[in-house]
Symmetry: C2
Subunit: 583 residues, 2 copies
Amino acid sequence: MLERIFPALTWARGYSRDMLGGDLIAAMVVTIMLIPQGMAYAMLAGLPPEAGLYGAIVPLLIYAALGTSRTLAVGPVAVVALMTAAAAGTVAAAGTPGFHVAALAIAMMSGAIMLALGLLRLGFLANFLSHPVISGFITAAGILIAASQLRHMLGNATSGKTLQELVPSFLANLGQINRITLALSLVVVAFLFWARTGLAPLLRRFGLNPKLALLLSRTALLVAVVVSTASVWAFGLDARGVRIVGEIPRGLPQFGWPALSFDLAQALLIPALMIAVVGYVESLSIGQTLAAKRRESLDPNRELIALGAANLGAGLSQAMPVTGGLSRSIVNFDAGAQTPAAGAFTALMIGAALMFLTPALYYLPNATLAAIIIVAVMSLLDFRALPRVWAISKADGAAMAATMLATLFIGVEQGLLAGVGLSLALHLYRTSRPHIAIVGQVPGTEHFRNVARHRVVTDPAVLSLRVDESLYFPNARLLSDRILAEVAGNRALTHVVLLCPAVNSVDASALESLEAVNLRLRDAGVTFHLAEVKGPVMDSLKRSHFLEDLSGQVFLTQYDAMQTLSPVLTRDTRAAPRCETAL
Amino acid sequence: MLERIFPALTWARGYSRDMLGGDLIAAMVVTIMLIPQGMAYAMLAGLPPEAGLYGAIVPLLIYAALGTSRTLAVGPVAVVALMTAAAAGTVAAAGTPGFHVAALAIAMMSGAIMLALGLLRLGFLANFLSHPVISGFITAAGILIAASQLRHMLGNATSGKTLQELVPSFLANLGQINRITLALSLVVVAFLFWARTGLAPLLRRFGLNPKLALLLSRTALLVAVVVSTASVWAFGLDARGVRIVGEIPRGLPQFGWPALSFDLAQALLIPALMIAVVGYVESLSIGQTLAAKRRESLDPNRELIALGAANLGAGLSQAMPVTGGLSRSIVNFDAGAQTPAAGAFTALMIGAALMFLTPALYYLPNATLAAIIIVAVMSLLDFRALPRVWAISKADGAAMAATMLATLFIGVEQGLLAGVGLSLALHLYRTSRPHIAIVGQVPGTEHFRNVARHRVVTDPAVLSLRVDESLYFPNARLLSDRILAEVAGNRALTHVVLLCPAVNSVDASALESLEAVNLRLRDAGVTFHLAEVKGPVMDSLKRSHFLEDLSGQVFLTQYDAMQTLSPVLTRDTRAAPRCETAL
């Protein structure tokens, strides 16, 4: 029971020295990435750098106790930081105390929403964010994130929340570029890009074993931070216009209830819900990918609970919203993390850094953080996804394009809402117009196929229609319209057979439509039959009085139906060998 | 071409004397019903009596020219009148000129919406109003309509839009009942109820032939109007507190553009949309029921155009919104209407009545109109529908109950919105959690069934899952969660087979989920296969790179899959006769 609440108890019992070794090394590598990334994502969210570092302490300890993934690295991530900035920006200006309170409120509210969804086992609601929508959203968010860092890369005042604002601002501020800042950021971007693929081979050439070389290559961020900070300090670049991080409060975060108000909560409810859903979906997908490699599995609803508690902890400890991050999780996994204890160790190391290292970060240039963000979001961009999805399904492609355009030009919330709304609408539209085929018999067989596609024989007195979709209210009336239209003016007709092999369910509307069809056909002197009805559908029919009222019969197969209704037509197929065990 | 726009041209060409006879008699009977009903529904809508009579002139002429139903009787109907009162009541008080303008605006806007939906061939959108929702709404509206007539039945000031307001108002006004009004309305209600079933047999006993007796029984409304009007006039009941209709402007309606404003249009847009959809759905369902009896059919989109034009005509001729009405359409059909010309004749007769008969209606008591309304709406009430729908489907029952409760206690718009929203949400919930079964082989056969329900054999190295739903984003992740959960910790497993006989379609999200499953299973050393994939699904798979990446195969049947993956298991079934022609 206690293990169900605290999955940590499961692995803590068998914790071994080997596991400790793997977890400690992984924690060290992740910490080295997390210190600059935490500060960078705090900057992206419009928050002071410590809000990012705090996000790597309490939330990580909570997730280590409650999470079901063994290798997921929780903490500040770029997309959630961008969404936080957009949401908090609607209630206060970045840098003001009101903005910071709003960010804490978002962490707490999205945490509470995740917790509630998890406890109520409503994790499946996140599924309504379709793959194309989330993928389009992440790419568009990546573009916005990169564009938002132009001010730090160029050292000027480029600003804006959407491309509509960012592009004119970029052009207007082109004259105010700080050349040293630009040079610094370009060098860091180039180094980090090279380090991704070039550093490990170089280290191997110096005689390191491949595993250690890969581990050490993860310290590229640290190298960039140390070298750029040292350069600013040594050459006094801050006096020449290079903006620096400055003072970071020394010590651990203080716990405290943020100054929430009802108005604030109301204004931030929808953004908090979206941040909760996006954070959860991203985190779950990363966690599942990693878990599958070791034949482990995650419990989606308990992941929601763990992430929800982690975000509540973030909001109560002055930290920005958190979720599972892709790059650090992969590093954590590759570095050999064995249990969530690696996350707890990471938190302790970040805590130690906050107590002892903050003076060393005083001269860290914002340009370096911007470069770290830019390199990180490059992996989020997937421009080939749109043509790929479009080729598979125009509806999905349209939802994806709408999400991207609305996110880029209107805003992150509007983009997500547009995508979810459009994909639901297109899904409903699709299921509301099912494929309905008139079928005839393939001569000499027991098979019945679409008359429009195959050479088949039909009996003018019997109309056989196959519907290729479950029947529910969005398409119920369409089916009856179609049947009545086929019957209208067709005086030769005496039987209509509806083939239901593709009907997985019927609802009350579909049943009433079928009842209406039955009565209207009876009024017109036509008998109505069903064939190939599945078990669950038959159960639904039995719960209503449809079967008592049905003017015709329910046939097991269409061949049975035609043998009864049109013996002349089926007789000549007797020559073909009949299959007694079919279906 | 011209016939496609004006269906009237189709029947006008072959118009015969027989048809003229039938149409004239039907028009006469319908007119006799329509004069009191039109005035009554105008009263229900909070409009002067002539607004109802005008609704029986121009709209009927337009529908006769454009409509595709031969027997539908268009005009003022109770539910639309109630919805008009509710909507116009949000912008002005009943009886004020602003209220009348709002009602005309509603007619024009709902007409324009119908026309647009019809021209864009978007009639299927009305399908999202599910049967249980519309049925619950109509019953709840019927209760509200009856309750709203209490003031006229009792001759007091009972008022309110919902039961929340009507019940306390009824109790507070119990002391102010006008006894003569109450007596009069009770007598009329009793007479009309009796006349429904008792009048025709009585007339037959007097020697009339059955058909004529039935026709004459339809004049019960006329009898009630004449007798009650004469009583008020003869005994001076209006001086003793019996409220009367009073002066009705003599002559035909004037054409004129109502004083619309942008604010008014904005305030009435949602109600107008709902009135359009409810009016269309009701009218179409009545029209289809009648058409089917003569093996005729309606064109739903052209019905929308005809009803839309009729309502635009209503708004431009000082009339209330209209649609096809159940009781008058049945009377029209039974009385032998052959073509829509019956509707045009009805319009002419109503016009004649407006020119010559209005003085005779001066002393018509409101109580009689209220009694007519009450008797008319009794046929709308269907209290057994809720338990019936609930037995078929709890989701549909819940949507129906929510519609009824919200309509009765919050308002008509909110009721409809709650119903549509809940039924969509429940539909999405249902499809988001598909039935997934692990299947095994029925010994000695080629059949595979749910291991939980049947005695089947399985191979621990092969997991066979059957999913009973199309795969799209609401359920895509659930399937992959389930597969990964089954694989987790199961070291014996080497193959997973997904059976897709019930999958009618896959979207991009489902494809990406399947791709992720494939990759994650491959990482775990498990091969992923599909079996019994339908043609359209196979087409979707081919449009992506799923089939190239698939670690396993796509099998035609599950039996093929097991023969390949688990020859030991299937070998002993060889004894059973194999069927070469299966599927």
